[in-house]
């Protein structure tokens, strides 16, 4: 049986968080367990203290933009040797230059343009959600990148 996929949903609008969670549930791409954050700073704190396999991040937020949050998450993953989790921008930005910045420079994996439908989610999120499912089934992303099942300190001790 597939493991639950822990998803962090970041948006300063409570209504949009509800809508993202409801649409993802309706899309039936995975069995999600959602955690909400109302801005980038709160999201980053949660990311540091809790484990997630995927994050859905609004772009236009006060204090820390979604793109800045993506950069922080990637930096933190790298510093701690964690696996990269799929980061999906959920945005009303539609200019290609901005999208390229989020995807190429900051390190997001995909984006969903608002307004979106459940079918849009199914079409655009197959790959990132499949990767998140893989991470969930393997016990999460909080282990050194490249470590195999049975590897690492405990693997060597009991393997």
């Amino acid at each position: 049986m597939a493991a639950k996929v822990r998803a962090l949903v970041v948006d300063d609008s409570g209504v949009m968080r509800k809508m993202v969670m409801r649409s993802l549930t309706q899309a039936e791409l995975a069995d999600f367990e959602f955690t909400e954050a109302a801005d980038g700073a709160e999201a980053f704190e949660k990311f540091k203290t809790e484990a997630f396999e995927i994050a859905f991040i609004d772009w236009n937020m006060p204090n820390m933009t979604g793109v800045d949050l993506v950069r922080e998450i990637r930096r933190y993953e790298k510093e701690n040797g964690f696996e990269r989790i799929p980061l999906v921008m959920v945005t009303s930005e539609k200019t290609m230059g901005k999208m390229q910045e989020a995807l190429d420079e900051a390190g997001a994996d995909a984006y969903i343009a608002k307004p979106f439908t459940v079918d849009d989610l199914r079409a655009k999120l197959q790959k990132p959600v499949a990767r998140a499912q893989q991470l969930a089934d393997a016990g999460g992303a909080r282990k050194p990148a490249g470590a195999k099942s049975g590897g690492g300190f405990f693997g060597r001790l009991f393997g």
């Binding site: 300063d12 409570g14 809508m19 236009n60 009303s92 608002k114 307004p115």
Partner: protein
């Protein structure tokens, strides 16, 4: 149909971008394009919720999406998949802000295609009734009104070289 410009001149690219974005966004969200109509035909002395957003770039201007109560309630319910959203609720404010945010993303894309790059602010929201606001000296204001199956609504485009073009919503 051209926008109803109250005073001063607003660059044509801006009103054109707003009109194109309204048609495209509304159709994507609600399945049909709204119909533009003369602003003076719409009763604007009604309770409304307004989503407001500013743009900076080559030009400084702002956009206010005014949703009369019945229209706002219908649009919010549809936005939330049929769930009733009270007019005076926090969710309604969130939705008004989100709607203008989504629209503004399309406006920026339209402007970029016309060679006028712009960046948008975070949205703010106001509720009111019958407000009459006069623009700062030298600033321009345009009203663009629409009718739709969900009810009527209108936009207030405020343009000003000093960037202080939209201190509060109104018409």
């Amino acid at each position: 149909m051209s926008a109803d410009v109250v005073n001063a001149t607003i660059p044509q690219e801006i009103t054109t971008a707003v009109q194109a974005a309204v048609g495209k966004t509304f159709e994507a969200m609600y399945g049909a394009r709204p119909e533009e109509r003369p602003a003076e035909e719409i009763d604007m002395d009604v309770p409304y919720v307004a989503g407001i957003i500013s743009f900076v770039g080559d030009e400084k201007w702002s956009l206010c999406w005014m949703l009369p109560q019945p229209t706002a309630e219908r649009m919010a319910a549809q936005f939330m998949g049929g769930m009733e959203v009270p007019f005076d609720s926090e969710d309604m404010a969130d939705i008004a802000g989100e709607l203008v945010n989504i629209l503004a993303g399309e406006v920026v894309a339209q402007l970029e295609r016309q060679g006028m790059p712009a960046q948008m602010s975070l949205p703010t929201v106001a509720r009111g009734a019958g407000l009459r606001v006069f623009p700062d000296h030298g600033n321009g204001v345009a009203r663009i009104a629409y009718d739709s199956p969900l009810g009527n609504f209108w936009f207030r485009v405020a343009y000003g070289s000093d960037g202080a073009s939209h201190r509060m919503p109104g018409h």
